[in-house]
Structures are given as structure tokens and as C-alpha cells.
Amino acid sequence: MQNILAIFSVLLIAALPSTANYKLNNFSLGNGGTNTAGTANYKLNATVGEQSGPNASTVNYSFGSGGNATQQANVPTVTLDNPSSYYNKLHFVIGVQGNPTDAVYAVAISSDNFVTTNYVKSDGTVGGTLAATDFRTYAGFGSAAGSLVIGLQPSVSYKVKAKAARGKFTESAFGPTSTAATVDPYLTFSLSPNTLSIGTLVAGSVINAPTPIALTFATNGASGGNVYSSGLNAGLKSQTTPFYKISAVNGDLTATSEGYGAQLTSVSQATGGPLSKVTPFDATGNNVAAIDGTIRSMLSSTGPVTGGVGSLLLMAKSAAQTPAATDYTETLTIIASASF
């Protein structure tokens, strides 16, 4: 008889509350958690009497059961992109997914679909370990403006994913991945025309070339770049006896009897930069900068530039005694470089 009662008692306990559609798998009057179980680096958030499985999940969603799952932060998202042809960094924005403002996030990054996982460190670089200091708040990651992960390689596709936490025992799982790729460093540059006649000089008058030299410049170099010029003859030189030269000069052609030089009449860019005139090529009026045998910077940018355009106007003035000739010539070399 005692055995029968014992079996009945077990059956009573096993008969869990249920309806036609739902069944409460487990319930208890509280767990036996402790905050004293742990080491210097780890602590155990333990519960007794609650089941931890089964793990219900799909490709995009997973269900964490048990008390730990309910206290975890919401799984964040992260969006990775390359908005400015970056070759050594990428931009990302954390999606908080309803987490409070004091939640902190960590971002993992991989170039091999997380066969190897690295982490975005607190200074934006990439490292193989994730330290507590690498967790940052949404604001710490730049809020909606986002943040940059730096130290990447050109032409590599990266994936990132993020996780969130808010205090001990709240760290979420990593969220969905986002992919973007760096590009190769680039420099584009052109000049036009490649031949230019200033025309007939009039003694005592400053004569402008009929058209400026159009310069285009673009680079994704993180430190920008420069456009330089130099001149073969350091002036307009006649190729016949007595090989007279209208010398390249710095300054106001109005105040000189004879001279030749250039000024940048305009400069602009589509994005970035800014692309700026370098003194003395920023001269105005009849002031010009000399283009001689020294390679000198005319245009400069300290950051990436797209759609950079400059107009270089050549100006010359002859004097009454400037020898007549139809072959005054200068060969300008105009080059560009970028700093990556």
C-alpha cells in the first residue's frame, strides 16, 4: 500500500498544469541562484529547478529558455558599409534593438565568415581578443552616425556582428551579420588641354590665356593628396636666336615690365577635401605664381576627395623691348600624388 501511495504522489507532481493548447512545462517558487560562486574573472549565475532546453530556433531567430535568457540584453544589429571608398577602414552603426542607453555593445569582425573572429577594439582597431574595455555604449559607438573600424586591408570583404550587455549575466548572443568590403586605394587625375596658346602678347599689357588648364583630381587616400607643377624653361622661351625668355615671376604682373605666371582661378570638389589652393597659386587680379624648375604644390587636400576640379590660368606680359618671336614656348609638367 505504501508503494502505491508513493507512485500516486509522483504522478500528482508529474501532472503539470495544462490546457488544450498550452502546457506549463515547469514552475517553481524561486531558484537557488548565488552571486558567490565564481573566481576573480568569472562568476556563475546559477538557477535550480528550471529547465534550459530545448533550444528553439530558426535561421534568423532563436529562443533562449530559462532565467538567464530572460535577463539578457536584446540582441543588437550592426550595419557595416563603405560610404567613401575606404581602403583601410569601414563604417558601422549599431542597431540597439530596444536596449537602454546604458547598454554596452561589442562588435566582432571577420574576413572569413567567422572561421576566424576578431573584435573591434576600443580604439577602433582590430584585435584577436575582446576585453571589457572594448564594450562601448551606443553613444560610444557614435550613436546614429556610427563608428569606424580601422586597420583593415584594401579589397577585402568583412563581416561584422554585435552583441549587447547591461550588467553582469546579461550578455546577449551575437546578432545577424552585415557585410561590406574595402576597395583598393585609388588616384585619378587629368589635365586639359595639353597644348595651349596664350596668343599674341601686347607690350605693356597683361594677357590671359584664352582658356584655363582644367585639372581634375580624386583620391581615397586618407591623407589626401596634392597637384604639383613645374616648368621646363622657367618661363616662356623663344626657341630661336637669341633664345630670349619671358621669365616666370611671382607677384603682380601689372607692376612688372615683363613676366609670366599662373593663378588658380577656381577650385571645388564634390565631396571630401576640401581641395585648396596653395599659396602663391591662390593669387588674384594680375598676381601670379611662378612655375619654374622646382616641383611645387598648387592644390592640396588633407583628406579624401571626389570630383576635385581646379582651373589654372596662365598670364603673361611682354615689354616693348621683348624680342619679337612667334615661338615663345614653355612645357609645363603637372603631376599629382596621393597619401594613403
Binding site: 581602403y87 583601410n88 580601422i150 586597420g151 583593415l152 586591408q153 577585402v156 583598393d184 586605394p185 585609388y186 588616384l187 587629368s190 589635365l191 586639359s192 588641354p193 595639353n194 597644348t195 595651349l196 596658346s197 596664350i198 599674341t200 602678347l201 607690350a203 583620391t219 587616400g221 591623407s223 589626401g224 593628396g225 596634392n226 604639383y228 616662356l236 637669341p242 619671358i246 616641383i295 592640396s300 588633407t302 596662365l314 611682354s318 615689354a319 616693348a320 623691348q321 621683348t322 624680342p323 619679337a324 618671336a325 612667334t326 615661338d327 615663345y328 614656348t329 614653355e330 612645357t331 609645363l332 609638367t333 603637372i334 603631376i335 599629382a336 600624388s337 596621393a338 597619401s339 594613403f340
Partner: protein, 365 residues
Amino acid sequence: MSMKTNRIRRHLSLFGAIAMAAQILSTIVATPAYAAGNLTLASMRLDRMAVSTVNPNTLVVVKPTSTATEAKLMITFDAAMTVASGAGALTTSVTGLPANFNGTTLTAWPTIGATATAAGQSVTFTSGDLTVGSQYGFFLTAGVTLPAAAGTYTNIITTQDSVPTTIDTAKVAVRVLANVSSNPGDQVVVTATVPPTFNFALSGVADAFTTDLSSAGTVSTTGITATVTSNASHGWVAWAKDLNNSGGKGALKSATSGNYVIAGASAVGSAARTLTSATEDYGLAVALTTDAAGGGTVVIDAAYNSTASTKIGTLDPTTLEPIASANGTANGDVITLQERATISGVTPAATDYTDTITVIGAGLF
């Protein structure tokens, strides 16, 4: 276990070892996704960007990121670039480096190897240690030829320690420009024309003797100046010819005295002479008043050069005779023309002694 099964297992084991070795090798060779250190700045400035340029003088600039001790610099050129393969074919220099680059002081690369020999597209120079925070540069002076096709090309700059292990690295893009109508794409040929000009101006058209002619001495006219401004590169020449002909010599003539003439005493073309009192003589004296700076040198013709106040040359009534010239451009050269005469005691009195002198000039372009 059969022998066949053992062979299969051995093959699988061998395959696994090969695969593992390949994976290790690829890890070593492949560019890591996260560099040991990206150079803080890296740049290569070609002094010529036109296609197929041979040995562009290339300014190589870096700012190191890592503090490790550099001992080597490796540059891997884009596959489209031609890298000279001869021993020591790549050369460097730190002479003539610009004082700054991109707004930052540029320091000569310490003990950069003067030459190096390429291995394929890569070349490794010896290098001194670089200090983080400084910017270093050198010129790669020879050993590279730019591609024949325009475009952006990517080189890799890598600093290494003595092992060599990579310290910092960066990819650097350079641009190569296509030729335009056979002109190099990185150059602009600028031309201009200076048209010929010649300005020759006399200060007046009448020039009277300052006093009545006298047998006691030489009397001169006030003088007329001729000013020459010209960009004729070979200079200019001025000529004179007078109206009154007395046996092939220029002369003052009085209509009221029966067309009496006071003619030059010497033949045309003789060296300038000093007039003699109480002897009829007449001629032209030319003096240099201004030899304007910056042009040619003015020379007075010896036949009319008035080095003293009494010298003259005989005017030619039939042919334009050169009186002065210059060997270059003129920005206001000035010569002064005076007529001088002496008479004898029997020279007929008259108030209408006159002569007309034609003075012309031309530029030598």
C-alpha cells in the same frame, strides 16, 4: 584491417598533411586581413606620370606606425610596371628632397640603400630605423618603367625588421596618364607670340643754327633727337640723307644768294672730322644720348660720330647713309643729330641758308 584500407588511410593522411601545409603557407603568403600595422602615411610621387615613362624620379614617403626596428624596405610594384632586373638596377637618392611633404617636415630616409636588385616585382632596400611620428622620404631614381596603358596602379610599401618580418605596410596608388595627340598626358605645351614692333620718333622737324654762321668758329644747330623703341632682336639702324647736292656732298644752300652752297669739305664716308675756322664746311654730327638698359648696344657710325663738339661727317645727298645702329632690342635709345658749319670770310651773306635732312630707321628682326 586489409592492406587496401591501410593504403587508403596513408593516402588520406598524406593528403591531409599537404592540405595543412598549404593552409599554413597560404596564411604566411596571403596579405593578412588585419595588418601588423598600416603605415600612418604612404605615398609615391612620380615626377612624370605619362605612359611608358622610363625611370620616373619617384618620391617615396612614409610615416611609420609601429615602433619595431626597421632594417629593410620592400616595395612591390604593380604587375603592369616594368622593374629592371639587373644587379643594383634600382637606385635611390636623398639629394634634393623637398623640405616638407603634404604639410609635414620630410626627413631623409636614414641609410636607405643606394642600390638594390629586384626579385620579380619586388625590391628590398636596406633601411635604418624609423621613428614613429616622423615622416621619411627618398627618391627612387632608376629601375622602373611606367606601364604603356593609362590607369591607376597599386604598389605596396612594406617596412621590415632584419628577419625580415613585416612591421608596417600600405598599398599606394599611382596614376599613369595617356598621351594626347602624341603629347605626354602630364604636360602642357604653352606657346605665345610677341609681334614685331618698331617706333622711331624725331623730336622736331626744324633745327636752326643757334647763332649766325661765322668764320671765327663752328656753329651748331640746337639739335634734334631720334628715339628708337623696338623689339627687333637683332637691333636697328638709322640712316640720313640730305637734299642739297653739291658735287655729291650735302650742303647748305641759299636761294637768295644765287643758290650758293656751303658744302661738306670731305668725301662722303670719310671719318668724322673737326671743322676748321674760316673754311667753309658743313655736315652732320650724331651723338649717343641714351643707350637704354636691357637691350642692344648703340653704336654711332664713325663717319658722323660727334665725340667732340666740332666733329662732323659729310651728308650724302644721293644715298641714305647709316648714322647709328644697335645690335639688340631698344627700349628708348636716343641719338642726337646736329648740323654744324663753318664759313669763310667770303661766304655770301644771306638769311636763307637751308638744307633738308631725311632721317629714317628700321628694325632688324
